[in-house]
Amino acid sequence: MNPFDYSAEQLEKEANALRRTVIKMIVGAGSGHPAGALGMADIVSVLYFKILNHNPTDPKKEDRDRVILSNGHVCPLLYAALASAGYFPKEELAGFRKLGNKLQGHPSRADFDLIEASSGSLGHGLSVACGMALAAQQEQQTHKIWCLMSDAEHQEGSLWEAAMFAAKYKLKNLKVIVDVNNIQLSGDVDQVMPLDLLKERYENFGWQVAEVDGHNIEGLLTKIEQANNFTNGPFVVLAKTISGKGVSFMEGKWQWHGKAPTAEESRKALEELS
């Protein structure tokens, strides 16, 4: 059960608030990855404030849905959502990327026990999520494993090993959302290493696939709910997004994959996001 159960309007507002928090965190740290985090804000808002079975007052409850952030570099968004949901005080977000802090530059289970699995090296998350989904299936548990991934990390070969595995074992607790934003560190995805036909690739691997506009709250609600209710194997939602969404000078630009805005740029960004 989701304790927030926000309306579409509230979810949109929440997403924007998360974006503002992300900008402040990255500026505060002086480094980080704004583009993907801004782009996935609507998805994360819909998950944490409508879909996920979780409870900030009982963070380790047995039947909680697990979230694996395979594209770990967008973690300020995850930290912002956890703080906004009440898992820890928002003031602590200022510790992002600072020495000795639980909010590491990439999610670290060793430093922060709310992280279900450490991530940061691309292509790992799906395999770990498969293991969790397999365990849940073996024990006939109903919680879901939500694995969030980027499009570019599909260039990692081991991810496709995991895709085969999930299909073979019909991992019905496994739900994947891919942030299809067509950017990566050094260029556009279709220039660096094209990943077209992602839908067909997953279908050919034996997955159920849905496509959605990753900024359309109603559409996200429908498709993610559909994924949530699917019980005949792994389900992937391919969410087409605009990287840097909400900040005009960042939108669609790969150059903002891993760069912190200056004070002036962040002032402009926060203005646009208000």
């Binding site: 699995a117 799906l126 395999s127 770990v128 293991g131 969790m132 081991s158 090993e161 995991a162 595995f165």
Partner: protein, 316 residues
Amino acid sequence: MTEQNTQPVKATREGFGAAVAELAKNDRKIIVLSADLSPSLKVDNIRINLSGQFIECGVAEQNMIGVAAGLALSGKIPIATSFAEFLTGRAWEQIRLDVCYNNVNVKLAGSHAGLATGEDGATHQILEDVALMRSLPNMTIFSPCDFNEAYKVTVEAMKIKGPVYIRLTRPKTLIITPNGGPFVVGKMSVIKEGRGVIVLGTGPVLSEAVKAVNGLEEKQEEIGIYSVHTIKPLDKEKIVELAKGAKAIITIEDHQLIGGLGSAVAEVLADNGISAPLRRLGVDDSFGESGTYLELWKKHGLDSASVQATIKEFLI
């Protein structure tokens, strides 16, 4: 010294398989993961008799390690099995991040380690796995010298809550340790007491040192032989104690000299300011090749005659 078999009888991988069969029967949390090598790892009995505790991952070791980490994060006790080359080599980064950084209860069993793999040649004879695993935080490393020790380390591995690597070997080799008897994780096992020349070995190649000493006509009593079944954490205390006043320390391993047991022992001696002569026997910065394992051990100075010659240098 323990009563010896003079003929090779059983492989360390068989000791592992026998232990897993017993352990899995009594603990349904144990899940054996295979990367298409369950017959080689001697865990086919799990596939056949405990199919609910067996997961075939196909020839996809990187995913297998991630899956193992996910299972462990969900309370299972996964044992990921493959050849040591594909496990510790190909999936090293998954082992580092998913297993060791998460510090989860995953057991890794890698067989066909070392020149002992024999005829399959260099691609399958990993000589770097100990170096690769030794550098990882949270990792425990076992390298048993015979069937009996392999059985014991497997039992002990399941009692440890955290990452463990078990280094296993292909051929049937001599039994040089007792079935049962004392065994302590992190404490070297005495194969033969003796003060003078101290032989510290790991894996079945240690049997060549035993043969070497048995073949000596005199001064056998001056030689001590120890099985370093736990390479990490290393029995530093005992190594320091033995090294003080020793004529020499000889290490023997079926692994690269760089980064293996010999390196680890050298670090202990250097860190403690002990200047006892150290002779490291192992593979000197080269790849293996096809041949019988005994031919290969001989070529690399790891056979009993070579070991005996080395011991004699220091007995004078």
